[in-house]
Symmetry: D3
Subunit: 67 residues, 6 copies
């Protein structure tokens, strides 16, 4: 029954990698907490690098890239 | 003053249906908890089926569709 | 498969009222979007009035109450 | 180490303004709580006006605009 | 730089198990997406069974328990 | 109309400091985006140091403290 939300920057993550994240985190909840995978929900949010900040600056700025 | 976030898969939900969700959940909070609708905020997130997992697999995979 | 998060101030909401919210919002998603209730997840967060702000002030301050 | 999520309507907010929000909220956490800015994360979500409701109606409806 | 939020029901999860979840999901993001673990943030929310609904009913009701 | 969620570790933050965070972030949204403060909502979540991870370890572990 857990709900997991994963936020990452939007940088061309493939559907295969997203499927691996979903499979892996669901299995982790089975292994550690014995949760039922059938009702475990995982939502991935991909966030524009202009909209993600760390250290007070956007990821776009930190990378010194112009988009 | 409540805040409600509704996450659904992104599958061509019409603006009319989204308006009904917002109206309905706001009214529910008035009816059950006597909340003030004027400061009740509802945000709907529509999530790509590649980014939503349940049972350890993406919704795209579960539907057996190729996007 | 929807996921709904409802945030309200923590003011002695009874388990019965929380059950009504969960039932009501799940039914709304069935009625408006034909979602499967069995995999519809609703999480209610009750937030201290010191930790909720609107109009730039905490709810505790707005009510003129000392806790 | 704080995490801040800012949700606003999606109305052509410039990268410069988003950078100012990120810088400002990070500095606020340094000033008020003496947090380390290097591990302070800020994520901005821009939400379609069809998907944002207040007072039981979408922002699109409230503005009387057709999109 | 990812941010992960895990919501589970509040049922006496030990600090050791929570540490395993945090370690495991961080490693998953390193393995699948080559993310930097030093800036990967994981937050676990433990939610009262009265406040978690699935299938339109609270977890407390589904378990047939009185709290 | 913005909604802001601030997550910090639960380490005896005073109501006065929380009020300053709410006031400051609301003013920031007025200054940068000309938002209406009356409908700006801020919610602060205080998270146990056992439930917050960074670098793959809980904050409790990183501080070398036993709680």
């Amino acid at each position: 029954m857990p709900y997991v939300n994963i936020k990452i920057t939007n940088e061309h993550v493939t559907p295969e990698k997203k499927a691996k994240l979903i499979e892996g985190v669901t299995q982790l909840l089975v292994d550690v907490l014995d949760k039922n995978p059938e009702t475990t929900v995982v939502v991935i949010d991909e966030v524009d690098t202009d909209n993600w900040g760390i250290g007070g600056r956007t990821v776009t700025e930190r990378r010194g890239t112009t988009k």
